[in-house]
Symmetry: C2
Subunit: 104 residues, 2 copies
DNA sequence: CAGTAATATAACCAGACTAGAATATAAAGT
DNA sequence: ACTTTATATTCTAGTCTGGTTATATTACTG
């Protein structure tokens, strides 16, 4: 889902402002159907929403689902902060100790 | 990459402690080759690292790459916080207004 | 050294995914 | 009503991916 680079590009573009499909087509240098299909996926995942204005469809970002990703990430953030802190303390305490590491 | 549910499960398991492959195989109820392949992907993405202990391979989490994901997510976090704040203020200010969007 | 345990790699397959071309739909403009 | 503009959908072909079975590798054990 967020692995798809085009999809991430779309999200990045929508972060600054809402945009019609044609605008995204230009910037991504993809065909219009391809973009529409990505938008469909993003819509169904709840990551974007549409506003109809005559024939134009304005797409914009929706915050909630990314908050979920963020929530999933939260425990990892704790984890890596601990580890990095520990590393810092380690380096700070013993600045010329050889590394015990196992590199294949 | 992180879209893969099995891969996320593996990461979740490794968050608590380092584990040998067989342990992951049991818990995921997947065949051993499948797990080994996921681990390869995770290794190449730098998300996990291995320690050799006789025939056993102990896998453990590496913090750095998730920090990158977090960094990618950061601007979105700003975005949705703003939006949710705005929504709150909106609901607070006009408790019985019908819903409609705001333009840039 | 033969045998076994733990894991990795190879070969293969079925389903999912993406992109393109062609076509359909929807709303305006004339 | 016909045409144009903007977007969606369908069909199809190629690629990617995750899983399985079978085999190889690596390290301990008798």
């Amino acid at each position: 889902m967020l692995a798809e680079p085009r999809r991430r590009e779309i999200l990045d573009l929508l972060r600054s402002r809402e945009r019609p499909v044609g605008d995204l087509v230009e910037r991504l240098r993809l065909t219009q159907p391809a973009v529409s299909k990505h938008l469909k996926v993003l819509r169904e995942a709840g990551l974007v929403e549409v506003r109809h204005d005559a024939q134009r469809r304005w797409y914009r970002l929706r915050p909630e689902p990314l908050a979920e990703v963020d929530a999933w990430l939260a425990p990892y953030r704790r984890f890596w902060n601990e580890r990095l802190d520990a590393l810092e303390r380690h380096l700070d305490a013993m600045p010329d100790e050889p590394d015990e590491g196992e590199e294949p």
